[in-house]
Symmetry: C2
Subunit: 338 residues, 2 copies
């Protein structure tokens, strides 16, 4: 019998269509390639992007020249623009404002063919450090209230460039995802006087059926009510509402578990398109007792493009407990790259 499950944070119900009992090999992974050709993110092409806002490179390297290991640049085709006033305005009953914001690209590697999943630990740690550095910096601009940080990998997940990169969009408003989570976790806190994410961690460690892996500072789980098959959440064990407060050791530990999760996913579903999104407290908010930062990793396996995004109602053909089992049992010995 299929099962209906409710996300304990935002109250989203999903259908686990267990009858369909899919295994990883049952999925047709959409490996449509991202357009190749000239790559603006490769070393030597630094002049084809807007000037960098951050780079990790050995001393002595000149800005916007090769030699970097990681580079952050404004998006050449930004969804929002950095210059101007917010200009909040009504139009009858409607509300609008100028599209002020920042849209940046985090180039995770100089090597066009190196994937995020297979980055060495030290360099993956750099990626997470760069995220923090940009969030801290953009948080100084009090026009911005939130930074959406995300990665699209593969054409089916929305990537338009092959070269490994993530993106951030600094926004003058709170996106609905975060307001729903803040509200949901606050009602839970008011009722229980505990953080819902801390309770999830306790229950997942105790039940041990949706746990993918853990290390000293993090756990990775398949959530109880996932929208997509093989969805994973990476959550710090210690309560913290904002990513910007994570210290160097924490980010190193994050890189270790994240890398492991990505390799487990890649082993189950080679080269699967995916997204991940950082969920963190709004910029400059004080430490929140009810909210807990985390990453959500969602492989793109089912047709979630149409009806589901309009209705907020998802059908998942893989029970999270099954998905966790596959991910836990994944073979992590080096695979030939596809």
């Amino acid at each position: 019998m299929p099962e209906l499950r409710k996300d304990p944070i935002i109250g989203r119900w999903i259908i686990i269509a267990t009858e369909r009992g899919k295994r990883p090999s049952d999925f047709i992974v959409d490996r449509n390639h991202v357009r190749g050709g000239f790559c603006p993110l490769c070393p030597g092409n630094e002049n084809t992007t807007p000037p960098e806002v951050l780079a990790y490179a050995p001393p002595g390297r000149h800005a916007n020249q090769p030699g970097w290991q990681l580079r952050v640049v404004p998006n050449k085709y930004p969804a929002l623009v950095i210059e101007g006033e917010i200009g909040k305005e009504g139009e009858g009953l409607y509300d609008k404002m100028n599209g002020i914001g920042a849209h940046e690209v985090i180039i995770e590697t100089p090597d066009h063919n190196e994937s995020f999943t297979h980055l060495p630990l030290e360099r993956m740690t750099q990626v997470f450090m760069a995220y923090r550095e940009r969030l801290v910096d953009l948080g100084k601009d009090d026009r911005f209230r939130y930074v959406m940080l995300f990665k699209n990998y593969g054409a089916a997940a929305g990537a338009s460039l092959e070269h490994s990169h993530s993106q951030l969009i600094a926004l003058p408003i709170l996106p609905r995802m975060i307001t729903s989570e803040l509200e949901g976790s606050l009602s839970y806190y008011r009722y229980k006087e505990r953080c819902v994410f801390c309770d999830i961690i306790r229950q997942e460690l105790d039940q041990d059926v949706r746990l993918v892996t853990q290390n000293e500072k993090f756990i990775a789980i398949v959530p109880f009510a996932p929208r997509s098959p093989f969805e994973m959440w990476v959550i710090p064990k210690r309560h913290a509402s904002s990513y910007v407060d994570a210290d160097g050791e924490t980010l190193k530990s994050l890189a270790a578990i994240f890398s492991e999760c990505m390799r487990r996913l890649d082993s189950c579903l080679p080269n699967v398109p995916y997204n991940f999104v950082l969920h963190t407290a709004p910029l400059r908010s004080s430490s929140l007792e009810h909210y807990h930062w985390h990453f959500e990793i969602t492989p793109k396996l089912t047709m979630i493009a149409g009806f589901e995004w309009g209705s907020g109602f998802y059908i998942n053909p893989v029970a999270p407990e099954e998905a966790a089992k596959f991910l836990r049992n994944a073979d992590l010995t080096e695979q030939p790259k596809p």
Copy 2:
């Protein structure tokens, strides 16, 4: 400059990336075909579907035999099952219940090659009558709280069969889309003592910049803060919270405006994949002052598969006022079918 706009009902912000100023012809319409081959929805194959729950046919026709104009059958591979108890249960902090529900397919035409868009008015009216009839019938089962009624057209919008059909899923819970709308419209009502949809109708008729078309009983608009380019909402002018209360004349009028909208869309973007979803009050709810039923039609043109569905944050490259202009100016003389 791009613009940020807020949906007045559920508070979802979207970016109108006006700079990109796309015209209909700039979109690469994904016309990937739905799998052909044997069609279980065609006349003569009635025995390959579960027995019908409704059919419109001339008198004298036997059930589950050819001769019908419209036929409603349970989905052979249902997401939810009709038999059983709800069985609400906790699992630590999590909530779940059995996947009890109904999943039905509304076969809109016996002709495999006839499209919904080009149905004659009388037969499109039948489709809307069938929707109402199924909603009324399923509303008698007090295990169900909501019926999601929707259509997926084209592979990119999630259709898996070519033959023109829509679907419904009767649910023992309220999907998030509807709880958000009920809550949002209720806060508006508490503040203004007016229905937000009625206010939208007044403002759209007055401003006349996002209006696509209207008739005696309905308006069709491009909403102020649409998630997708060329999105349209069809709203009854007279306040009514539930679709099941619409009378025959209203459904005839609905068919007329819906047909016109679909032909306008098809003229701008031939054969574009799309979804539509009925938004209506929960089953058996009394008449609600703050809620107003309507349809939302969303063409599938942008990559909304990845980041956006996870974040609830959408980027729309076409200003709604521009989209409305294209749709208003569409050529409605008969097009050769693609």
